[in-house]
């Protein structure tokens, strides 16, 4: 090992590729990615498989003499189970990934022991610990409000995943007002956060809850308005149709993703990205839970599973933001180049989302926190006017 007296792992060596461990890690990563890619290509589009399963189910239910509704009910159950599985499993992976990234950005290792390989089971162990912990309701708490708050914060986050189109023919509920529905449901979570702030009977919680609600309500506006150009270009609120509008290519190689629309697309993307980071209460917009001043804000008084429900809601919204960014601006499941179409759409979708999740984690460990008044100034005096201007630009784009 050529460490030159410096600390592992982020300090520079003269040539990191000389380290056998470094090369082994890179080989492993490449192998895993290629393996996942090969598996995805092997499975192919999921649409035909689903059609096959539907036919089999219909046949089975006809053989058993069940009514037609039985097949529909079974499908609804399967869809709900799939969405809930993504919702529950994703935070486990993302939290581990986040801890590793934060550690490497701060010259640490992060979790290394649980599960053997780089602590990959750490989040599962933490989850079990949170489940087994005692649930404390403070004596000052407004007991019902305190108890209901995590549910009110979590359920909208879960419900928001219904209209997301995960690839061709992979959409739990293909509703016409998809975009509006997602934003409407996400707005309901604010109630849960305010209930948590109030119900805890603690002034820091109340302050955190109010700050959080003010931030969420304010950043909701530029977030919603920055999507308006996308809706104007696609001519529909339906997420599946928004993806379908981005399938083609300009000049045969440049994908017609909305991010590539001159000026309007990039501006809308940046506005939506910033507002999304703020909506998920993550640094640099994590004033609501600023540990150093508010002892972590609205969830100070929560412990055990109730705390982890808030945590899951937050990570759920982060995941949703990445899915929405991929859907609105990066063409959802469409391939970036025509000859790459052999990779199925759901693999593209999850690949793009993973990249965006990495951006979210990267931001969190790179930018310092904004002061609370600067935060509001930034929203009302920068993001909102530009999102309005962007709608006008989009109108000009459509005119010519």
């Amino acid at each position: 090992m050529i460490l030159k007296g410096r600390a592992w792992p982020t300090e520079l060596w003269d040539d990191p590729w000389k380290l056998p461990r470094y090369r082994r890690g890179a080989r492993m990563l490449a192998g895993l990615s290629l393996g996942a890619l090969a598996a995805a290509v092997g499975v192919g589009e999921l649409g035909p498989w689903l059609k096959f399963a539907d036919a089999e189910l219909a046949f089975a239910s006809a053989a058993l003499g069940l009514p037609d509704e039985a097949v529909d009910a079974a499908w609804i159950l399967v869809k709900v189970a799939a969405v809930v599985a993504v919702f529950v499993a994703a935070p486990v992976v993302i939290v581990w990934w986040e801890r590793k990234i934060s550690a490497h950005m701060q010259s640490r290792f992060g979790p290394m022991r649980t599960g053997g390989f780089h602590g990959w089971l750490q989040t599962v162990a933490d989850g079990i610990k949170l489940l087994l912990k005692e649930n404390i309701t403070p004596a000052q708490a407004d007991s019902w409000v305190h108890r209901l708050a995590p549910a009110v914060a979590l359920v909208p986050a879960l419900v928001c995943f219904a209209p997301v189109s995960f690839g061709q023919a992979l959409c739990a509920a293909d509703i016409d007002i998809g975009t509006l529905y997602v934003f409407a449901m996400a707005g309901v979570s604010v109630m849960g956060i305010m209930m948590a702030g109030w119900g805890s009977g603690n002034k820091y919680s109340l302050l955190g809850g109010l700050r959080s609600a003010a931030q969420l309500v304010s950043y909701e506006l530029p977030r919603t308005f920055s999507v308006v150009p996308v809706i104007m270009f696609a001519g529909s609120l339906n997420l599946t149709r928004i993806v379908a509008a981005q399938q083609d290519y300009w000049f045969g190689f440049l994908p017609k993703w909305f991010i590539f629309y001159p000026v309007v697309g990039q501006l809308a993307f940046v506005l939506f990205l910033i507002a999304s980071v703020a909506e998920t209460n993550r640094t640099p917009f994590d004033i609501p839970e600023a540990e150093s001043e508010l002892v972590s804000g609205f969830h100070t008084e929560y412990s055990g599973i109730k705390f982890s429900l808030f945590f899951m809601a937050e990570y759920g919204y982060m995941l949703l933001s990445c899915f929405l960014l991929a859907t609105f601006f990066l063409g959802g499941g469409s391939a970036p180049l025509p000859f790459l179409k052999f990779i199925p759409s759901w693999a593209w979708f999850f690949g793009k989302s993973t990249l965006l999740i990495f951006c979210f984690l990267w931001f969190r460990w790179t930018f310092p926190r904004l002061r609370v008044d600067r935060l509001m100034d930034f929203n009302w005096k920068f993001l909102l006017p530009w999102s309005f201007a962007n709608i006008a630009f989009a109108g000009l784009c459509l005119l010519f």
């Binding site: 016409d176 509006l180 934003f183 309901v188 305010m194 109010l210 609600a213």
Partner: protein, 164 residues
């Protein structure tokens, strides 16, 4: 099935509305108002008005109910959490409500068969065409009035601030 959904949502709306009026704790009333408005959104959805459902949630639950919570939390007094929210005139108010209800009964019974039977059609495109076509002028007039009201509210609150 859709009748069951409709009537259970109506029950949610009515019970939470009663709670808004009768509960002693103002904050609980405000929270139940949020539930009531969300229930109304659910009723819209069960009647097939998809756009109305989403905008009801977005504006009333995500906006107005949250604003009310802000008002209660920031400017509330501790007496508002324990005192009765009804004064001695409750009987008169009840009578007025009853008379209004009786006056509207014709329309209520006319619409009594409103439970959705056919599968709902998306309404957004049609609504947009109407708003920017046939009803463009009233729509713009309403938005102008709203902006005027907003500016007026800001001006009045500023004017009061200057006095000590």
């Amino acid at each position: 099935m859709s009748a069951l959904v409709f009537y259970s949502l109506s029950a949610v709306v009515l019970i939470s509305a009663l709670g808004v009026v009768l509960l002693k704790n103002t904050l609980h009333s405000a929270l139940l108002l949020g539930l009531c408005l969300a229930g109304v959104a659910g009723v819209f959805a069960s009647l097939g008005a998809d756009f109305l459902f989403s905008s009801q949630l977005l504006i009333y639950v995500g906006g107005i109910a949250v604003l009310l919570l802000f008002v209660v939390m920031l400017s509330g007094r501790s007496s508002e959490l324990k005192l009765r929210q009804v004064n001695d005139q409750w009987l008169a108010a009840l009578l007025i409500c009853a008379v209004t209800f009786l006056g509207m009964r014709r329309y209520i019974f006319e619409a009594g068969t409103a439970v959705l039977t056919a599968s709902p059609q998306p309404t957004t495109a049609a609504l947009g065409k109407l708003l920017l076509g046939e009803y463009a002028v009233p729509f713009e007039a309403v938005s102008l009035i709203l902006i005027a009201a907003l500016v007026g509210a800001v001006v009045f609150s500023k004017a009061r601030e200057r006095k000590p």
